[in-house]
């Protein structure tokens, strides 16, 4: 790849935007916490003590100190802000309040592989299948197949993932009991055997299906179909048709290649909501990922863990978007050589 000035400028701009996004997001979180009425820390400690557990006063004092620092309530406003940023950037969220004194980040790390696994698999599958189906449906616009899919997509498009998850539960665990209602795995085993893997997939099936169906047939199908219909009437496609380029080649080289670029951008913009949707889908299925951790943390008023999941997922989504932005020049030569 020839590195040009345009590319360097592009990467510099994206990097700046990436850092700026995280900075703004964390700043927003900081001020949200400061604006919240009451003193959350004393509430938390009161709550912990009222639950009947007996703690060493020394430990409670340490906790109080760490909480004041965590919630940015120590020192001047500027100091608070710097402290807050410093701790978030090294992922120090303090101890989990419901699993005292395990650090919140440890709990998060335990759940992370589940979420990343489910999310990346379903996003990749639904993005690819959705775009391919959309391109085909757009290319053969007048076929029956295209019209039926369009009708289904139109109905599914506005439905959020977690409502679909409930529909799936009703259909496949209540009406036709094919899949388990909840959980991530039902065998406890140290070794990874075929049985464990099948069990894992069997549990992941429904959450994955609800993410894929809405993703594929909703977002990516609709947008890629519209893009294809637009591209099909471009002059260069008409010219290629007249020149006698085969239909297959036109679809692959002239249309799909061109619709992929805006779709990569769209994926970057949609990651945030896909992530949110996946979190809630996990909650519905009690799938042991970040969403489930978050649900437990909210119920136990475990602010540290809530804060951890919140800031970590903000950083994660921004990072994923940034990586997509960096991949972009690889697909689009216009960015590369400008």
């Amino acid at each position: 790849m020839r590195v040009s000035l345009g590319l360097i400028k592009y990467i510099a701009l994206r990097t700046f935007f990436y850092i700026f996004t995280i900075f703004v997001a964390l700043t927003v979180i900081f001020f949200l916490i400061r604006l919240a009425p009451g003193n959350p820390i004393e509430n938390i400690i009161e709550l912990m003590l009222s639950q009947g557990s007996v703690y060493d006063p020394e430990a409670i004092n340490m906790l109080r100190n760490s909480l004041y620092e965590m919630f940015g309530l120590k020192g001047s406003l500027f100091e608070q802000y710097i402290n807050f940023m410093r701790r978030l950037l090294v992922f120090d969220f303090g101890p989990s309040l419901s699993n005292f004194p395990t650090p919140a980040i440890e709990l998060i790390m335990m759940r992370l592989p589940w979420t990343i696994g489910l999310l990346s698999m379903t996003t990749i599958i639904s993005w690819m299948v959705g775009n391919l189906l959309g391109a085909l449906a757009g290319f053969f616009e007048r076929s029956k197949f295209s019209k039926i899919l369009q009708g289904i997509a139109l109905t599914l498009y506005p439905i959020p993932y977690y409502v679909m998850a409930l529909v799936m539960i009703f259909l496949f665990t209540y009406l036709i009991p094919l899949f388990p209602l909840s959980g991530g795995i039902s065998i406890l085993s140290e070794k990874i055997t075929l049985e464990v893997i099948t069990n894992l997939i069997w549990h992941a099936m429904l959450p994955a299906l609800s993410l894929i169906i809405i993703g594929t047939l909703g977002w990516w199908f609709m947008s890629s179909r519209t893009l294809t219909i637009n591209t099909k009437t471009e002059d260069y496609v008409t010219y290629a048709e007249i020149r006698g380029v085969s239909e297959n080649r036109i679809l692959r080289k002239y249309i799909i290649r061109n619709i992929l670029m805006p779709q990569v951008t769209a994926l970057g913009l949609a990651l945030g909501s896909i992530f949110s949707g996946a979190l809630l889908t996990e909650v519905i299925f009690a799938y042991p990922g970040l969403g489930d951790l978050l649900w437990r943390a909210i119920n136990a008023r475990d602010y540290n863990t809530i804060m951890g999941v919140t800031s970590l997922s903000t950083i994660a989504v921004a990072t994923a978007t940034y990586i997509l932005d960096l991949i972009y020049p690889l697909i689009d030569p216009r960015v590369r050589y400008k």
Binding site: L32, A36, Q150, R225, T226, G268, I298, T314
Partner: protein, 294 residues
């Protein structure tokens, strides 16, 4: 399209969209029925629908209880109509705030251009990229004790203005290059008059679409938050119904399907009908879409 601003023509325009666009028609009829249940039928509730144990619990749908009763002894039907009302109040609050903030910022960015545009769009992009749900979760969990319908709607609007703002800016940008805009600004027309008379007529239809889409966004956000237990749990909204039925009482596992299915089906009907209204409107405003059948 300029005539859109004139009130006496609004009825005519509505009639022509309604008669020519089947998507809009279907969406509109479904939505009106939902509004009827939410705002008219709900006021005839024989009992306070949120009170516990007014009826025997876990009854399946029957003539007396059209959608059965819940484990907390509430009638699912009366809960449902009350929930529709409350969910829509939250959504209208969000839409009122977010779509107007978006309209305002988008117009300023598009008209002023230059640094103002760059800064505003950068902030807009940041808000699009930030995953809204986690931040909302943090926010609502901190404000849980102070929550009411309007506050919840306002909180959701923090993350729903960027899309309208981007869209309005795009439209204003394309308008700026048109001849009549140049004529207006060269002839010394004041800034606000330009906005009111030259831009508004074009933007208003899209504003209505943004309004509809923001309602959609708000209802789904509220339902999402409610599933996590972060809504008005002692009140009735569609999300809260799902929360009690699915997350707390495991209704499906116990075979009380009517408790879960009713709010889910209602949500799907609301989403689909609003979406149909929104694409019907955009097809009307942009006839090229209509030909493409998109």
């Amino acid at each position: 399209m300029r005539k859109i601003l004139l009130l006496k023509n609004i009825y005519e325009i509505f009639k022509s969209i309604y008669l020519t666009n089947i998507k809009f028609r279907i969406g509109f009829i479904i939505f009106i029925i939902i509004l009827f249940f939410g705002f008219i039928v709900s006021s005839f509730a024989p009992v306070d629908p949120t009170r516990w144990y007014t009826f025997p619990k876990d009854l399946p749908p029957s003539f007396e209880h059209p959608l059965g009763t819940t484990t907390m002894g509430r009638s699912v039907f009366w809960m449902l109509v009350e929930s529709i009302k409350k969910s829509l109040i939250i959504a209208f609050t969000t839409a009122m705030i977010a779509s107007h903030v978006g309209l305002f910022l988008g117009m300023i960015a598009g008209l002023k251009g230059g640094v103002v545009d760059k800064v505003l769009m950068m902030i807009t992009d940041v808000f699009i990229v930030i995953p809204s749900l986690p931040v909302l979760i943090l926010l609502v969990s901190l404000l849980k004790d102070y929550l009411n319908l309007y506050l919840l709607g306002a909180l959701i609007s923090i993350f729903s203005w960027p899309w309208p703002s981007r869209q309005i800016r795009g439209i204003v940008l394309s308008l700026r290059e048109r001849g009549f805009m140049k004529t207006a600004s060269l002839s010394g027309m004041p800034f606000f008059r330009i906005i009111l008379l030259e831009i508004m007529p074009f933007v208003l239809g899209w504003h209505l679409i943004n309004f509809t889409n923001t309602i959609l966004y708000s209802i789904s956000s509220e339902a999402g938050l409610a599933i996590l237990g972060l809504s008005l749990l002692s009140d009735a909204t569609l999300g809260v119904m799902i929360y009690w039925a699915h997350m707390q009482w495991y209704a499906l596992m116990r075979g009380i399907w009517w408790w879960v299915v009713s709010p889910v089906v209602t949500l799907i009907l609301i989403f689909t009908s609003l979406y149909l209204i929104s694409i019907g409107l955009s097809e009307y405003l942009n006839p090229r879409l209509r030909q493409r059948g998109a």
